[in-house]
């Protein structure tokens, strides 16, 4: 009986010992041909007609190939065999395709592009990215259900010739072709999977540098292996790319420090501050800017230029970046981010244009001037005190950021009472669209690396112009860039610069910062570069 007693008492101890001893070492081995990368979230869809987010976009960029592909800043031919200049006043693009193959050995044809594009604009697909085809002949009417899908301005002249007809010239059309939404699709695979297409790697075929294997949607990790059928497979040095989702910043850092992952991406706030001293710490510029919109319709005092300027000058962006954002942002005085678009003649970054550079004074912290302009603005609008609400996201960083702005504004703008309203992302969007806000902190990521992607938002009457900013001259420049000057690169550049100047001088929006993605990358990871469209090109990435 005594024996039994001791045996029973030993059960829990045995359990613990078993758990502790049965495991061995958890030290990670690193392979030269496998690159492991963190991901902030799971892939929501691998269907290029459906995907809307960056993670799915990266998955598609790694596994599919479009007409063009960014290599660093440079746009290079991919399935198209050369860079194409448009004809017919910029309205016709004729692409000659390389003889490339899908991962199942079948040829990638012009018909695969036609099929994919038609499928995306088809209202039945309910693509939330169909709007990006706007400008391709009949795309808007097809999306609205007014015209048949086969009337889309895209056709296969022969197996390897694709022709696109635009209703108006799109000067950034070639850049768009590197976007996953314009990738081809292999019709038999799509039709076989039906509504389940893009939810499972089984049955999918790929024409890009890697193939996704053993993946099911919402998986927390996924593997991509080299696609030997990729037309440029000889340039691909990595054999495997492994993604792991991490949610907790400390876990991410532990995974990186223990070399379980070679690259930790999207480090924010406190963690970024903590690791900013690492030699392997780096920041990638993204074509994304954060800014404050003011609701002129609801609060007419925002029509006063002095009030808008005072708001912009009342807080210190450098301090905000250092103390709140962990140095993960970049200063920008204009809506247009840096590192995205370059002067067609000189190659100079848009934000370094001689006409843009002096605009920095509109966003430089200037306590005295802010107070002075504010008082003047109050007098001009007949107000003694102003109280309004700043709408924003409810993430930790967003809350801290808005608290900082609130503190600075209330300190430097006498008579101002600013209340914060931090809500979930979707609520913020709805409130913004409904005009249910005084001021809102918002962000825009470029759909394509061109200033027009940002500037068109603030045209009078644009659906995204939530603050109802309106300036005739600004509208004229933006419109001119897309119409009369669309085929004249220099004139178009000037239009975009002038429009930006007006928007900044007007303080149509109060700029906050440009989003920089902070990362830790092992020193042996080479050529891991971000493109102007926010994607990484893994064709050239390698480890040594």
């Amino acid at each position: 009986m005594k024996k039994k007693k001791y045996l029973l008492a030993l059960i829990p101890l045995f359990g613990i010992v078993l758990m502790l001893s049965g495991c061995g070492s958890a030290t990670e081995k690193d392979s030269k041909t496998t690159l492991s990368i963190s991901s902030s979230d799971v892939i929501a869809s691998m269907d290029s007609s459906i995907n809307t987010d960056v993670i799915g976009g990266q998955g598609l960029t790694n596994t599919m190939d479009g007409l063009y592909r960014f290599d660093g800043k440079k746009l290079k031919p991919a399935v198209a065999n050369s860079m194409v200049e448009p004809t017919n006043d910029g309205k016709t693009y004729t692409y000659k395709l390389r003889h490339t193959k899908w991962s199942n050995g079948k040829p990638v044809t012009a018909g695969d592009f036609v099929y994919a594009w038609r499928r995306t604009v088809d209202p039945k697909t309910a693509s939330q990215y169909a709007y990006i085809f706007s400008g391709v002949k009949n795309a808007d009417d097809i999306s609205a259900g007014k015209k048949p899908v086969n009337s889309l301005g895209v056709k296969a002249l022969d197996k390897y010739t694709l022709q696109v007809q635009l209703s108006d010239p799109i000067p950034y059309f070639n850049q768009l072709m590197a976007n996953a939404t314009f990738f081809p699709q292999y019709k038999p695979a799509v039709e076989k999977a039906g509504k389940q297409y893009g939810l499972n790697s089984a049955g999918m075929v790929f024409n890009g540098p890697f193939k996704l294997v053993n993946w099911h949607v919402s998986d927390n990790s996924w593997t991509q292996v080299k696609n030997n059928k990729f037309w440029d497979a000889k340039s691909v040095k990595l054999k495997k790319v492994q993604y792991y989702v991490y949610k907790d910043p400390n876990t991410g850092l532990n995974l990186y420090d223990s070399n379980r992952i070679n690259r930790l991406e999207k480090i924010g706030g406190d963690t970024a501050r903590q690791v900013s001293g690492y030699k392997t710490f780096s920041k990638d510029k993204f074509a994304s800017t954060f800014y404050i919109e003011m609701n002129r319709k609801k609060d007419p005092f925002f029509n006063n230029e002095n009030i808008r300027r005072a708001i912009s000058l009342s807080f210190n962006r450098t301090q905000l970046n250092k103390n709140v954002l962990g140095n993960t942002a970049g200063f920008t005085s204009t809506l247009i981010p840096s590192g995205m678009s370059y002067n067609p003649k000189t190659g100079v970054d848009f934000t370094k244009d001689p006409a843009i550079k002096p605009l920095a004074s509109y966003s430089d912290y200037n306590q005295k001037l802010a107070t002075k302009l504010w008082k003047k603005g109050l007098k001009e609008t007949g107000q003694k005190n102003l109280s309004f609400t700043l709408l924003g996201d409810d993430t930790d960083t967003a809350k801290k950021q808005n608290e900082y702005i609130q503190g600075q504004m209330e300190k430097n703008l006498p008579g101002l009472k600013l209340t914060l309203n931090n809500v979930p992302f979707k609520s913020r969007l709805t409130k913004s669209t409904d005009g249910d806000f005084d001021m809102v902190v918002t962000a825009w990521n470029a759909d394509y690396p061109d200033p027009y992607s940002f500037l068109q938002l603030f045209e009078t009457g644009n659906a995204q112009n939530n603050g109802k900013y309106s300036n005739k001259k600004f509208d004229e420049y933006v419109k001119k860039s897309a119409t009369v000057d669309a085929n004249n690169k220099d004139a178009r550049w000037n239009d975009l610069v002038q429009a930006t100047k007006i928007l900044t001088e007007d303080q149509g929006v109060v700029m906050l910062y440009q989003y920089y993605q902070a990362n830790l990358t092992r020193p042996n990871v080479k050529n891991y570069r971000v493109s102007p469209n926010g994607m990484y090109n893994l064709v050239t990435a390698y480890k040594n």
């Binding site: 509504k195 099911h216 949607v217 669209t433």
Partner: protein
């Protein structure tokens, strides 16, 4: 007993129906739409997309459609993961949560029962003090704090376990330990209190006077009777451990169901919100039913029969 169980199952479905209906209408009060690209869609495009998902219909029609599907066992498809059946999403995410939850419950409960029993038997000795200290520690240390400590020492510093990620059994050990602390503390406390009571009962004295050894008294009489209140708390605790381990899952990067639930709410993924609410409710009601049935097995005196009457 069979009639009682049948009746309880009927109530289970009725409760689920009410929960589903209430949740459906409450969910519709959430601001925003489920569309990720909402701010880029023109009003016309938004209308088309809404029509595709049936969201252009009046709420009551949407309700009838959903309930119609539900009666056929169809929980709909996720908006967030385009067209992924919610049942599949739950199934895929449930396994890791259930595994670490079940492991934590088994470990925590077994250790808790033993700790509580030992504390009661060695009442007012250093053993009791130590056991009480451990159980209070288990109750008071938040699981996420324990998770971070375990990760730092056992994984990062000493390399005994993986830091995070869900690869094999090894990956489940640290989250299990982090989650086991609470049931351990809870069960130990309940067990000790109940067993101290039972040990001073007349029938224990009688058993002792009959010449039974201490071991026999404890295992045959005291332990069994002390288990009833423990069983009562185990049910709901099991559900909460299995489904509410989101923070621990995040710390160890485990693809669990908890995170999915929160995400479905923030993304207005209506079918997933509904599916998970119904699933959680089902789990809780089922566990309560099982606990009720278990009472009968532990103590035959409260076994039910005759249409639910004692």
């Amino acid at each position: 007993m069979a009639k009682y169980i049948l009746k309880r199952i009927l109530y289970l479905f009725l409760t689920l129906f009410i929960i589903a209906s209430v949740t459906f209408f409450l969910m519709k009060l959430l601001p925003g739409t489920p569309f990720t690209n909402q701010n880029r869609l023109s009003p016309g495009q938004l209308k088309i997309v809404k029509a595709q998902y049936g969201l252009d219909q009046p709420v009551f029609i949407q309700y009838l459609r959903y309930m119609g599907g539900l009666f056929q066992g169809n929980l709909g498809t996720s908006y967030q993961f385009n067209n992924e059946p919610v049942t599949q999403l739950i199934g895929q995410r449930l396994a890791p949560s259930m595994q670490i939850g079940a492991q934590a419950m088994i470990l925590g409960t077994v250790l808790g029962i033993l700790l509580g029993a030992v504390a009661a038997i060695r009442k007012n000795t250093w053993v009791d003090t130590l056991a009480t200290f451990i159980s209070i520690l288990g109750l008071s240390i938040p699981s996420f704090v324990l998770a971070v400590l375990l990760q730092f020492y056992l994984a990062f510093k000493w390399h005994i376990y993986p830091v995070a990620l869900w690869d094999n059994f090894q990956s489940s050990v640290l989250p299990t330990l982090a989650l086991a602390a609470l049931p351990l503390g809870n069960v130990a406390r309940f067990m000790r209190t109940e067993m101290v009571d039972v040990m001073s009962s007349d029938y224990i004295e009688l058993a002792k006077s009959k010449g039974n050894s201490n071991w026999q008294v404890v295992t045959k009489h005291a332990l069994r009777n002390s288990l009833i209140p423990v069983v009562t708390i185990i049910g709901p605790m099991a559900v909460s451990v299995m489904t509410g381990s989101m923070v621990v899952e995040n710390i160890f990067s485990i693809p669990g169901i908890g995170e999915q639930f929160v995400k479905s709410i923030t993304t207005n993924d209506y079918p997933t919100i509904m599916g998970l609410t119904i699933f959680y409710s089902f789990l809780l009601i089922l566990v309560i039913l099982i606990v009720d049935i278990l009472y009968g097995f532990i103590d035959p005196r409260i076994r039910l029969g005759n249409g639910g009457k004692e």
